[in-house]
Subunit: 203 residues, 2 copies
């Protein structure tokens, strides 16, 4: 055990924040495979037992780190839903790119899904990780669904539009490109996507 | 080496088909982790070297099996793009469900992404698997993009609609639910999705 870990007894919120900070930094530096919970405990100066009591596996801790990354992006209705969606989807794309680059040399040119795919695979392998990932997205996406409801109340989107279906189309397209087809996701694509989803395709 | 493998020299197309048949059956029965290339060689009665010369890793062979599953679903424009998309997306959902259940007891109630997530993770880990997965989707999705172009020529979808963006919204929503949010994908959802994408969301 790290000697410093025994010294104080920070309140749990403080320790949690320190753990997540350390975990985020190490995760982006190392990537999924070389990310180690023990190293996070050392860096955060908390006892390993404290860390494992809170997050029982590496994957649980990674989910918490991803949630923290999500929370860095504000979601607020500005009165212009097209601008809001464009900004938010570009932020998602940037976050996914950052996760995709985790543990890779800067400017490696590698555009693969990296960590994002590892988290999806862990969610598929272990029911408890799956539940944690799903809960994270329910919590986070609720903010965007609320934004879309406000846009609907303001008459920017149609009264019959289902916010969840609309957001699935938008976020889904981005994850699909990242995880499945490998097609590029840039600002021009986000513009085309938002225009397509808002405008509809029927003649 | 299996003695039968030495006996004849089937033309390579024949051997390939026998290998893929055997691999599909074993993959659905065993799931990703317990799927073994050596076992496929034995079941298909081909020499391991023949198999490895054609598909150098388990993941390459799995990509070929997935491509074969995709090819079981016809893609043809009927003159009613809404019906065509609904049918095709339900077929995708059924195929993904079948892959998700690979190696699991029947009716396990487990709705996780299983094999689908493993393939996405392998694609992210290894550049050559990523390239094979992307090529598979380029080839396959070209059929749907052609269908959407025909619908556009027939005036069923708007002249300014980009088939690729529209299909990303549709297929993307399904993969997003499967791999990320865990929300259900049933026929009612597919109907809402197709209606949302064709109808658009702007007021």
């Amino acid at each position: 055990m790290d000697p410093k870990a025994r010294r104080g007894r920070p309140r749990s919120g403080e320790a949690d924040a320190r753990i997540i900070d350390a975990a985020l930094e190490l995760l982006l530096e190392r990537g999924y495979d070389r990310f180690s919970v023990d190293e996070v405990a050392a860096k955060a100066e908390v006892a390993k037992t404290t860390l494992y009591r809170r997050w029982s596996t590496k994957d649980h801790l990674i989910v918490a780190v991803v949630a923290r990354m999500q929370d860095e992006v504000p979601v607020e209705y500005s009165g212009d839903v097209r601008a809001d969606l464009t900004r938010y989807l570009n932020a998602i794309a940037a976050g996914l790119h950052r996760m995709g680059q985790a543990g890779r040399p800067t400017a490696s040119g590698d555009t693969s899904a990296g960590l994002v795919a590892e988290v999806a695979a862990a969610a598929a392998r272990h029911a408890d990780i799956g539940a944690a990932v799903h809960a994270m997205f329910v919590r986070r996406n609720a903010l965007v669904l609320r934004l879309l409801e406000q846009a609907r109340e303001h008459g920017e989107i149609g009264p019959g539009v289902e916010p969840e279906v609309l957001f699935d189309q938008l976020a889904g397209a981005i994850y699909y490109r990242l995880l499945i087809t490998g097609r590029p996701i840039d600002a021009a694509y986000v513009d085309r996507l938002v225009a397509g989803a808002l405008g509809g395709s029927a003649a």
